[in-house]
Symmetry: C2
Subunit: 346 residues, 2 copies
């Protein structure tokens, strides 16, 4: 009999509320014969304040035993900027080698977009997750003086770039439009830019059916608002991916519905799934958060574990729910979760 | 009697066409007593192909003698990516210490925006121009092998950050809303992030009337499409500024009307003014390019040299011209330039 052994990290702010709905929908969608085990972990601001810890080696050993991880949100104004980001979120991505950061953008019927007209948006960003300016390389000298110098080093390796580029080509190959766009800034960041561009062109030869394209990151932001329909799959560096996926989320219905997966494709370590939105402390505990992004992250999680039919049922349920929202009174976090659980079960 | 000794760099693609109109409007707006001298320089793809040179020391010495520089666009597909960018555009910004890269965004009446609703957009980005990941620091080892490692080093100094932050505060102070937003990614790029944030907070104490705000660059792209009205002055790093100003241009009427100044506030070296758009080789030589961005760059140039009334006349002329475009047949580059020259002279 099949089973899913899931690590659950509600985290901070609205994390608790949205994760509860994600689990509700997960339980509802899974067939009877799949045994779901969950274990909750208390990472985040509270644990940091109580113990000074963000993510210990023992924590990593414990998390490693799970099939996958569902995360709500980590981050609180009471913790200095960078502590939980570097000490938890990025530490986990690096420790579990989450090099494929997958962020789909699809404008669903009935969902409001800040763009005029009726843009058709359906693309996936494959963001590299373990290199670039995110490695923590760099440093500061003469801190706090008028002679301070601070550096940030973007590290890019042939190994790291090739595996994520190959993953993106395979995803493009599997989609109807079969188009892959490399986003970088190879006219200025020429060292990293040449590495990315050369590897992209080399791997392209193995995927003759995939149409390829290159766009500078600055121009990519223009296309994301003037012609988002041109994109099918995008592959990009860690920092550029961070920036353009927030913009992509904004134009395709907002971060209330943006899901993401931090994937280790080899399966050596569990992959982690999380909504793109943060902990939103301003609305935490009020039942106002939209759990859709978390529920869609559960769909990515199921797809990753091979439950394609169940993932598709969740996608359809969220689509249908969003399509019926216009003109209706706002529902609470758990009301939306209940409605989605009913839809996926039916 | 007054005089302006201008270096003119038409450059590649549509650069020639738009610069001609910029000069037409400049001549028309200047009072009789101001003597305008211009000298044209042949930088760009043609010179590179003919001589292998992009910008020599002798060129820099010649350019140094001018009061200001007007640039059309540099870049051509026949030149490998990075050669003209690093060898000309960035070399000039660095050689002439253009540390204030000024990019105003204003959605003018009658101008189409890709955003729904009627957003009110009127802000200025002060982009640092001589540091960050643009310094060319970094390198490649084992190039072309499966063990290649390429690095890009973002260099940030207290000196460099403080002068641009102070410039931005002064600009915010001089505007009615007096609001300054720092855009960075200080939760991940913690070395550079702390430097920027600390200096921003320190300089803020000297400007008690200016309201301050901090936004991560990823979130800034969301606000630029969902709530651009929240911004008044933005100060940011070289790379983040590159990215968000293209997005800002897109939402506030497109790069056809986006002007920029590469400013050396001390006046030690001439400042350079250029449209944000590139050389657009696909439409070059067809009279299709909109010269408005170049004409608005001429206004920034005049304002920088102290010709405030003339700069304002150009801004008004472009505004009026744009407001009357809807429903009219498209005009050629020179027809638009002629119309603007008539307006500013009147
Ligand atoms: C919180 C932060 C570390 C993170 C990132 O920059 O990757 C977030 O913005 C994201 O996109 O997941
Ligand atoms: C062409 C390139 C070097 C340049 C930059 O990145 O600064 C351009 O994108 C700009 O914004 O002026």
């Amino acid at each position: 009999s099949r089973s899913i052994n899931l690590a659950v990290i509600p985290g901070d702010g609205i994390g608790q509320e949205v994760v509860a709905e994600g689990l509700k929908v997960l339980s509802a969608v899974l067939p009877q014969d799949v045994k779901l085990e969950t274990k909750e972990y208390d990472f985040g601001a509270q644990r940091y304040h109580a113990t000074g810890e963000t993510l210990t080696d023992a924590d990593l050993d414990a998390l490693k035993k799970h099939d996958a991880i569902l995360l709500g949100a980590i981050g609180d104004p009471s913790v200095p900027s960078g502590v939980l980001e570097r000490g938890f979120l990025l530490k986990l991505r690096f420790a579990f080698d989450h090099h494929v950061n997958l962020r789909p953008s699809k404008l669903l019927p009935g969902v409001a977009t800040p763009l005029a007209g009726e843009p058709s948006i359906d693309f996936v960003v494959v963001r590299e997750g373990t290199e670039g300016p995110y490695t923590g390389n760099g440093g500061t000298i003469r801190k706090g003086t008028e002679h301070e110098v601070a550096t940030e080093v973007s590290v890019n390796t042939a190994f790291g770039v090739e595996r994520v580029v190959r993953d993106a080509f395979a995803r493009a190959q599997a989609r109807p439009r079969k188009k892959l766009t490399l986003v970088h800034k190879n006219n200025v960041l020429t060292f990293a830019g040449h590495l990315w561009t050369n590897i992209f062109n080399k791997v392209a030869e193995e995927f003759p059916e995939v149409t390829t394209d290159y766009i500078h990151v600055d121009a990519a932001t223009i296309y994301l608002v003037t012609d988002p329909g041109r994109f099918d799959v995008i592959v990009t560096d860690n920092l550029f991916g961070d920036i353009i996926t927030d913009l992509a989320a904004a134009v395709s219905g907002g971060i209330g519905v943006a899901a993401s997966g931090n994937i280790n494709p080899s399966g050596e370590f569990p992959s982690m799934f999380e909504p793109v939105h943060g902990s939103a402390p301003d609305i935490a505990g009020q039942g106002k958060a939209d759990p859709s992004a978390t529920v869609l992250s559960v769909a990515l999680l199921l797809r990753h574990l091979g439950y394609e039919a169940e993932a598709a049922r969740i996608d359809e349920a969220v689509s249908a729910d969003l399509a019926e929202r216009t003109g209706k009174p706002a529902r609470s976090t758990s009301e939306i979760g209940d409605a989605l659980a009913v839809r996926v079960a039916g």
